[in-house]
């Protein structure tokens, strides 16, 4: 059973096992530094579909199918699927997964959704409510742009602090440790973040809005567990990008928990920032999902990484709240993975 440690952290006593994982990405991501690590790179951003929403749904569907295939499982073997995305009413998840016939629980945590779905799935497995559960998220540059910003062909300029929504999906399949005692990667603990708002209003600077939420959850976790950044191989934040990552490092230094030597950010990893013209880096649910479900879990499987704190970060605004002049509330959820 899960047990609480400190004020905010939940320890997973049985160490739920990672049975399979997959990352499916678009063209730009495939041309990025980790292009070789993904399970599938689509050269066509539409994925041959009639709309961007359908394309994103397909990304998510493929991510689950490939992960199931890699884990040698069928959809009927899964007790529950936790999924989310950035679109209104989470339609990428519902339409992408409707053919799977698996009990479905939609999640919204903006770009923190991969960490959120993974954390909730791990608690289901830990508690025995599920023997096998799936966590999956996606985002698509084109579907996100039309919902949050401007039409693709509009000639507006992007701010230097803006981030590029990744066209990507990632999924992880978790299973009960008693049935999979030899699985190399397991989940040790989760910390659900509180909503933090430091008054940043610029929707083109989400890294700055999310950095305090990331710092808050990290500090909670270190305080609860009595550990330090140097106890881990990697502190992997979701999509803080260039601005948010440097702000997080500064905030953590102020709190006496210097993470600079172990910190990396999926938003900085997914693209070559200079060559691919993505300004402050990548973002979107699919950004952290694709990085986690490819190079990170692969390195853990290969024994190159052992202790990883995965910290999904989400900016919880909508176009409506931004137009009404509201600041950007943010949240960050932490998952401790160990191999």
């Amino acid at each position: 059973m899960p047990s609480r440690v400190g004020k905010y952290t939940i320890q997973l006593q049985t160490n739920p096992a990672v049975l399979g994982y997959a990352a499916v990405v678009g063209k730009k991501e495939g041309e990025g530094p980790y292009g070789q690590a993904y399970d599938q790179c689509h050269a066509d951003t539409t994925l041959g579909e009639a709309s961007w929403e359908k394309a994103e749904s397909r990304l998510q569907n493929e991510a689950v199918h490939i992960a199931l295939h890699k884990a040698n499982l069928n959809n009927t073997d899964v007790n529950c699927i936790f999924a989310g995305d950035l679109l209104n009413q989470c339609i990428s998840s519902t339409f992408g997964l409707r053919s799977l016939d698996i009990p479905f629980l939609g999640q919204f945590g903006a770009c923190s959704t991969m960490a959120q779905t993974l954390a909730v799935a791990s608690l289901f497995v830990e508690s025995g409510a599920a023997v096998r559960a799936v966590a999956v998220t996606s985002s698509h540059f084109c579907s996100a742009e039309r919902q949050y910003r401007y039409p693709l062909e509009y000639g507006g300029q992007r701010s230097p602090t803006a981030q590029w929504t990744a066209t990507a999906a990632g999924s992880v399949i978790l299973g009960t440790r008693s049935q999979y005692p030899t699985a190399s990667i397991g989940l040790q603990a989760v910390t659900f973040g509180r909503i933090v708002d430091y008054g940043i209003k610029d929707a083109a600077n989400m890294g700055a809005a999310m950095a305090p939420a990331a710092a808050s959850t990290l500090i909670d976790y270190f305080n609860d567990t009595g550990t330090n950044p140097q106890d881990y191989d990697l502190v992997l934040t979701g999509d803080l990008g260039l601005v948010g990552s440097s702000l997080l490092d500064d905030l953590m230094q102020r709190e006496g928990k210097d993470i600079r030597s172990v910190h990396n950010d999926c938003g900085l990893m997914i693209y070559d920032r200079e060559k691919q013209d993505v300004h402050a880096g990548g973002s979107g649910c699919g950004c952290s999902a694709a990085i986690l479900c490819s190079t990170i879990l692969q390195q853990m499987d290969a024994g190159k990484l052992h202790k990883v704190l995965f910290l999904g970060t989400g900016a919880l605004m909508s176009p409506t709240s931004s137009q009404q002049g509201e600041s950007i509330p943010s949240v960050a959820h932490l998952v401790y993975l160990k191999s």
């Binding site: 009639a50 709309s51 961007w52 929403e53 039309r146 401007y150 039409p151 693709l152 062909e153 509009y154 000639g155 507006g156 300029q157 992007r158 701010s159 230097p160 602090t161 430091y198 008054g199 940043i200 600077n205 700055a208 950095a211 305090p212 710092a215 808050s216 500090i219 260039l242 601005v243 440097s246 702000l247 500064d250 905030l251 102020r254 709190e255 402050a280």
Partner: protein
């Protein structure tokens, strides 16, 4: 956390790279000036073709709008505007781009609720407030002509 909102605002400002204003303004001048020069070339051409000045002026607008529509449809306009910035948005070409781009984007929602309803989602405010401003201007002009 120990940092206050005011302190964090300063930290965020410091960490956020600013736009390169001098370069942006220079590029806007060059691209915007380029569009105006192109317009002048068309005007000279139409005058050379013996159109009267008023008709030639209207033809210049029509030509620039049509060119922009073609470049937007060919997914080229935004790639140029990325560099030209306000120089590409402020002239009539920017207005055409702001109408054509949502029409393309929202085609997937159909001709009525997609293209029809969303076509003026960016240009709409310009139309509303320019019409309102012209009425106000007309009223002021009418008021001064009374005396």
């Amino acid at each position: 956390m120990t940092v206050s909102k005011a302190e964090y605002k300063k930290m965020a400002q410091k960490a956020s790279p600013a736009s390169t204003y001098a370069k942006d303004m220079l590029l806007a001048f060059v691209f915007g000036g380029g569009i105006c020069t192109l317009g002048q070339c068309f005007l000279d051409l139409y005058l050379y073709l013996k159109l009267d000045e008023k008709t030639a002026g209207a033809f210049v607008s029509i030509t620039l709008i049509a060119l922009t529509a073609v470049l937007t449809a060919a997914r080229v306009y935004d790639n140029i505007a990325k560099y030209g910035g306000a120089g590409m948005i402020v002239p009539i070409t920017g207005f055409a781009n702001s109408v054509v781009s949502p029409a393309m984007e929202f085609k997937s929602e159909g001709f009525v609720l997609g293209i029809g309803a969303k076509m003026f989602v960016i240009a709409g405010p310009v139309l509303v407030y320019s019409t309102a401003a012209s009425i106000l201007y007309g009223l002021i002009l009418w008021f001064f002509h009374l005396y």
